[in-house]
Symmetry: C2
Amino acid sequence: MKTELKEKIERIDRALNEYLPERDNAQSIIYTAMRYSLFAGGKRLRPILMLETAKMCGGSEENVMPFACAMEMIHTYSLIHDDLPAMDNDDLRRGMPTSHIKFGEAAAILAGDALLNKAFEIVSAAASDNAARSLRAISELAKSSGTEGMIGGQIIDMQSEGKDITLDELRHLHLLKTGAIIRSSCVIGAVLAGADKAETDAVDEFAANLGVAFQIRDDILDVEGSEAELGKPVGSDEKSDKNTYVKLAGLEKSKELALLYSQKAKKALECFGEKADFLLRLTDYLTARTS
Amino acid sequence: MKTELKEKIERIDRALNEYLPERDNAQSIIYTAMRYSLFAGGKRLRPILMLETAKMCGGSEENVMPFACAMEMIHTYSLIHDDLPAMDNDDLRRGMPTSHIKFGEAAAILAGDALLNKAFEIVSAAASDNAARSLRAISELAKSSGTEGMIGGQIIDMQSEGKDITLDELRHLHLLKTGAIIRSSCVIGAVLAGADKAETDAVDEFAANLGVAFQIRDDILDVEGSEAELGKPVGSDEKSDKNTYVKLAGLEKSKELALLYSQKAKKALECFGEKADFLLRLTDYLTARTS
């Protein structure tokens, strides 16, 4: 799986590099800042999910790649803004200085804005043999990253800091904050491939459950992971009294839940038969990952 | 003209209110913050330009309104982020506390992000009888607000602070920072109305020159305007040693230039005959405005 992923990541990175090259003009620093965060060692999970879902539904990589790159830019912008002093105030990400430490706060704010904006530049300018389908995919992209998706989750997260919340509230928070764009990554793959409603619903069900399993694993790794593999200190969630699955449900129960949600995710793909092979193996891999 | 504008502004405000209502959910504060800045007394210049250009080109208001509202949201987000402590650090705008003073810095950053995101939610979800045309209009919107448009101009502006620049460099800065979305407002109106290439080029030429005239008038008002009408202190540009037309070319020459560019703008619309009536009068009004 690691070798397969590496090859896919390289293809995505080449496309990202083409969509966002360095520029030699008066505002070149913004491109440097955008690229710094975009090429900081991301796992490219969302683009991979989109490309593989499209493949499973019979779509072509060419049509999907602009959207896959746009999704990674949106994910990256959210990290840059999350790290800002007014937000989580993080100096390091994946062992490297965060954007505002490297480029200053003003440039980091603009680099985040610019990545969000660039995502929509790319998908609206991409060649499309089906404009109605492209519009629907852009709409999914925008909705999932907005106030009823990722940004909504960030607001709820901010407001629940230092408060006791229930497991249901935690699930709702993650459903928006991280789950919404994991879901739309898969749904966009299906939409662009021309999947029918039953297939698109199955893909959505898969991604919703995978998102929960992925988040629980994240929380477990913060307790059980190794600092070297994670690129960040272990135990930081507990130190900052963050609401996590481990805190609310305990470590053992969290492991059970991760397994349960990953099984639900895989079950949703039954209708695709052996075409789902890669996504099934990816689900197992992500649920057992160590970084 | 004032009465005509008031009626148009009310129609735009009603549409904005429909696209961005208050919400009663866990993240309701983000809607409150977005609406606070969106309804802070903006002149709605960009939506008016878009709607009137479309009308001049024979388009329907219904098709254009979602884009007009999206453009105003993009303009508003740029003001919220511009005002942040790390950027211009302004406490007041139009006589009211800025977003980060009212809601805190984290919420202001997210409210800006959310308005940019919402713009693309609205235009991609809008009913379209011509999906290819909608895609092209979204592409114009995204390009003009991005790194080769508004954000690019903000970066250049940031970098030229406290430096001596030439009049040509100042024009280039404004062409991106404020000019790009004034141009695309008009171009999108033409595109959605199905204007041909010659008409779209004429509209672009009009808007490019209007944008310069508008900016010069802004710089003049900072010297000659009245504090009560402007809602901000007069002379603030000089105090902060900002590069303006008045600083680089002098007051008299700036007045000549404003007139020159507004004449060039009007000349570009000759091919539309009397259908251009409103935009011609608007150009005169904006070039002579006192607030």
